[in-house]
Amino acid sequence: MKDTEGYVTADGRQIGGVLMELNNITLKFGGVTAISDISFDIHEGEIRAIIGPNGAGKSSMLNIISGFYTPTIGELWYKGEKRPQMRPYEIARMGVARTFQNIALFEGMTVLDNVMTGRLTHMHAGVAAQALWYGKARAEEIANREIVEKVIDFLEIQSIRKTPVGRLPYGLKKRVELARALAAEPSILLLDEPMAGMNVEEKEDMSRFILDVNDEFGTTICLIEHDMGVVMDLSDRVVVMDYGKKIGDGPPDEVRNNQDVIDAYLGVPS
């Protein structure tokens, strides 16, 4: 399983080597075991999905990758190095961007400003230089703005650039959140239920954007979803979780026919 080489997907795309590897991850909250002994890896350039019924531990897994939780046992390797315990903002600066299941945007700020915060990880000028709008800070701000405008164009949210986020409908907020994560030009993009609560049309839009992002920028994407249909169409490889355990891992077609997975989703007749 530990192949460090890439592979070729069903539709003929070449996928790179291992970008992130999670080894024997266990997460306990007091007496409750949310995740027990799970290992899997994420290759560069692939769309990796984590699926499972409610309460399977999917979001906990994402929170471990983005540093909001620290695993009780287990280690995480990123770009060939073991990642020490870090704070979420430090991990964000290492190129891990994410969205949240129940949207975490800066409601009082405009769409443009929200997306601009995505560039914070690329900010190098000191506070003083920024305060004085001087030299490097100024050049940086302009360069950042250019990238942000590109992302806004790409996700087709130009028309709401100056609208305060608090006023937007749910579907658009999800898209703005994706834009903010994308603006960071992440090495790995984590999407926590990007299609939760959307109607069919919005889901189709979002799927298209996810595929386009992967295609256009070659961004590695790890997403959580429990709409099976969507996941199977989108992803290159799927991890299936149930009650904190891994019950399946592989390409969608393989996972779809896995008996454990079918049992977990449909229940076992007794």
Binding site: F106, M109, A181
Partner: protein
């Protein structure tokens, strides 16, 4: 009686426009200082949800430190730089010792903590610099002290150079802060943090850095107001009172609104002066400035509980 309330004051204003101008000017000077202090409150509230009770005492502490350092024989401008250093150390210590262990606690606990900081600074200030009144080192700092006399409409308008300097410096500081908050990445980080901590972490904002920065900005504001007010009224613990004037400003403007803090500050500064001169002194025996702002804020709260510019609280069920 009705004549005294509704007609006579306005007749006076028209009869002596130069005097009206003088009153407005004095109002503007205090108004801009109120606005500046209120800005300090708003910044801290937005980024950490703390209603910073200690803002007032920080003004006194900054002024005391400045005067104290100068009294030790350190040149005036170097004292200013050193005082800024002290305010920075204060910001770092507050973040380390008080805020960090209290992350995620209910607002009221953070509020109590800020009262704790207040008491600590009062005690510390007295031990180090003594409790007696001191004189602000206005001349040593090169702040002009003369006055310019203008004669609009053949009348008399006295502009103290000190006041002019205060207005210019405070306006510049307010403008710089606004630009910093709106057009730089760090400013965006400060505004973002107030909206959603989790999201802020996910885009790489460090809570600690932003908090230190915000408290340091509050410290700079404290020093500027301390110098300005100290030059007019002397440096003593009574200075703290002017920071409490920022409370009605905040209620008027809304706790979250930067625009609100500025407009609210100017409005209260000017209105309380007008009221004192034209209504307070002739009808109520004067000294209305101590309570006018609070009554005004009370009226605003009756009709707009979120303040004039505050975020409307909408509960979605």
């Amino acid at each position: 009686m009705l004549n005294d309330i509704f007609i006579a004051p306005f007749a006076d204003m028209i009869a002596a426009p130069d005097f009206l101008l003088q009153v407005l000017w004095e109002g503007l000077v205090s108004g801009i200082l109120y606005a500046l202090i209120a800005l300090g409150f708003v910044l801290i509230f937005r980024s950490s949800r703390i209603f910073n009770f200690a803002q007032g005492i920080m003004v006194v502490f900054a002024a005391l430190t400045l005067v104290g350092l100068h009294a030790m024989g350190i040149p005036a401008w170097i004292s200013v730089a050193l005082t800024l250093g002290v305010m920075f150390i204060l910001a770092v210590s507050i973040e380390r010792i008080v805020l960090r262990p209290l992350v995620g606690q209910p607002d009221i606990i953070l509020f109590m903590a800020s009262i704790g900081i207040t008491l600590f600074l009062i005690g510390g200030g007295e031990i180090i610099f003594g409790g007696e009144n001191k004189v602000m080192i206005t001349e040593e700092l090169g702040i002009p002290t003369g006055d310019t006399v203008l004669e609009p409409w053949g009348g008399l308008l006295i502009l103290q150079h000190l006041d002019i300097t205060v207005v210019l410096v405070a306006s510049a500081l307010v403008a710089a802060l606004l630009a910093f908050l709106n057009y730089t990445q760090m400013g965006r980080a400060i505004r973002a943090l107030g909206d959603d901590h989790q999201a802020a972490l996910s885009v790489g904002i460090s809570l600690q850095t932003v908090w230190v920065l915000v408290w340091f900005i509050a410290g700079i504001i404290a020093l500027v107001t301390g110098i300005a007010w100290g030059a007019r009224a002397g440096v003593s613990f009574a200075l703290e009172v002017i920071a409490y004037k920022a409370l009605p400003v905040l209620m008027l403007g809304g706790l979250e609104s930067i625009t609100g803090a500025i407009i609210g500050g100017l409005l209260i500064g000017i209105l309380e002066k007008l009221f004192e001169i034209y209504w307070g002194q002739p009808l109520l025996g004067g000294n209305t400035e101590t309570w006018f702002a609070f009554v005004l804020a009370l009226f605003v709260l009756l009709f707009r509980p979120q303040g004039l510019f505050g975020e409307k609280i909408i509960e979605r069920v």
